[in-house]
């Protein structure tokens, strides 16, 4: 074991892991974080805390992760390289670890253009691959990125994202290989709606034996409506929503579309469970945290193992 992370323990035990996420509020009320996190208690093994997602200012992922930690739950600190340089990020990693946060996700982050401060300058001192290297160096060598020794180094279980659906497709397995080379421990994928394409990507992953080197958690997002599906297809960068998914949601009455969305999510999990190299699921129920337990239960992933 490299860390004290619950997620690492679950994955090492051979169980399928389940993670979900909480988007922090656009204001100061800690109760907003607690409400969302409480819905996930006993349901998942780790709760991603997003870092100013879609480049909108929110309560910092660090602060929200501390609140979740204090509830006795397991936050996964998301960190994007868009907003802070390597000095600020390493300082936050140490600070988070001092609060008992031992699992994190390294991302580059959406471009500022998409948020409510499009006039902001993106930092991008490091990219996600270099952030993985940095966190690993802090953990395994006890050194900062700039090479000085760390007195009591943070021991983070290191995650990153992979999007099998972005272009060019042929690079997507190679980019995963690069993140593995950098030292990533687990991967959470982009939301999977095009299962055929995902399976093709996983074939490429297993052909190279990369599934032996990293734990892959398949990304699942339940659609609330056909409208949401259309929006994700057309407006969210790097998202692949096949027309069949939209048609299936449209084929049921509006008031039943949410349930149909959950059915699709559960069926996807059941199909993905059979794929070699899938070690768990990352359920991103966007502003719909109350549905995660239902999905986890129906997909046969409940109860979560005690580790």
């Amino acid at each position: 074991m490299k860390t004290e992370s619950r997620l690492e323990k679950i994955l090492n035990s051979g169980n399928l892991a389940v993670t979900s996420e909480c988007g922090p509020p656009r204001g100061c009320l800690p109760e907003k974080v607690k409400e969302k996190a409480e819905m996930l208690r006993g349901v998942v093994d780790g709760i991603n805390v997003t870092d100013n997602q879609t480049a909108m200012v929110r309560m910092s992922s660090f602060a929200a992760a501390v609140i979740i930690k204090q509830m006795g739950l397991d936050p996964i600190l998301q960190m994007v390289t868009r907003d802070r340089n390597r000095i600020a990020m390493q300082s936050d990693i140490i600070g988070a670890y001092a609060h008992g946060i031992n699992t994190m996700l390294c991302l580059s982050g959406d471009h500022p253009k998409f948020g409510d401060h499009p006039m902001a300058n993106g930092v991008y001192d490091l990219d996600s691959v270099q952030l993985i290297q940095t966190v690993k160096k802090m953990r395994d060598e006890g050194k900062f990125q700039g090479n000085a020794d760390i007195a009591n180094p943070p021991k983070m279980f290191i995650g990153a994202a992979a999007n099998p659906f972005a272009d060019p497709f042929e690079l997507r397995v190679m980019r995963l290989a690069k993140k593995i080379k950098a030292g990533v421990d687990f991967i959470q994928t982009q939301c999977i709606f095009n299962l055929d394409k995902f399976e093709k990507w996983m074939e490429g992953v297993t052909d190279r034996g990369l599934d032996e080197k990293v734990h892959i958690l398949a990304g699942i997002t339940p659609m609330k409506s056909a409208g949401m599906a259309r929006y994700m297809k057309n407006k969210v960068p790097g998202m692949d929503v096949p027309d069949e998914v939209i048609k299936r949601l449209e084929s049921v009455k509006k008031e039943n579309q949410a349930q149909e969305g959950i059915n699709i999510a559960v069926e996807s999990i059941q199909r993905l469970k059979e794929i070699k190299g899938i070690h768990g699921f990352h359920i991103m129920a966007i502003e719909w945290e109350e549905k995660v337990s239902e999905i986890v239960e129906k997909a046969g992933l409940s109860p979560r193992p005690e580790i």
Partner: protein, 222 residues
């Protein structure tokens, strides 16, 4: 080259309206090539300003001069005989030219008439695009001749990110994904293996992180 675009005329008018005698200075280098501040643009701007102030009942006197290179003190010296009769200087060069004038003629105010944009190349007639950010440590030799610092919207050295769509950047379809271009080039060159080599965290000091940059060539200094 350094590219520039003329400022909105209203902004230029605001700058110079307190003055009557203007020395309007163009530059024969980059801003001539990108049609922002060469001799031709000096002439056009002078006419526009004349006309505007005439309508206001003010006879603006404009001296038009286009220097060989406004960022070079040797050429900026040529303004000396004209300086006394000017109340203000209006420069159509890039920011380097404006500052060279400001440091030579300390008693005269100088205004920029263009916005300096970027170091770019011409893509086709009338279109210039950013190609270099002057990072001070060129990596084009290992990226297939395409710069990720200048051309990836996130300056990713290990791209592409997950936002690429139909080969274009997530910020919009008018921007090519630099890493898609790099990958295509590496394939053309039979250098696909290079892609999986991690590019380490960049040292941004030569890029300006260590403060304003300077080149000192002792072999050339007097």
């Amino acid at each position: 080259m350094i590219t520039a675009e003329q400022k909105p005329v209203t902004e230029i008018i605001n700058y110079i309206s307190p003055y009557r005698r203007i020395l309007l200075v163009g530059c024969n280098e980059c801003v001539t090539v990108c049609a922002a501040g060469g001799k031709k643009e000096v002439g056009i701007l002078a006419s526009v300003l004349h006309l505007h102030f005439l309508k206001q009942g003010k006879n603006l006197e404009i001296d038009e001069i286009t220097l060989e290179r406004q960022c070079d003190p040797e050429y900026v010296e040529e303004l000396a005989p004209h300086i006394d009769r000017a109340d203000a200087i209006l420069s159509m060069a890039c920011g380097c030219g404006v500052q060279t004038i400001a440091s030579r003629y300390k008693e005269k105010i100088v205004f920029p008439a263009v916005n300096t944009k970027f170091m770019g190349a011409s893509e086709s007639q009338g279109i210039w695009a950013e190609r270099c950010q002057g990072c001070g440590d060129c990596m084009l030799g290992i990226t297939g001749g395409i710069c990720p610092v200048a051309r990836c919207s996130k300056h990713l050295l290990n791209g592409p990110c997950g936002g690429t769509s139909n080969g274009q950047c997530e910020i919009g379809p008018e921007t090519d994904c630099a890493w898609r271009l790099i990958w295509e080039r590496l394939k053309e060159l039979g250098m696909e293996d290079r892609y999986e080599e991690i590019m380490e965290a960049k040292d941004w000091r030569p890029s300006g992180g260590a403060g304003p940059r300077k080149i000192i060539r002792e072999d050339l200094s007097l």
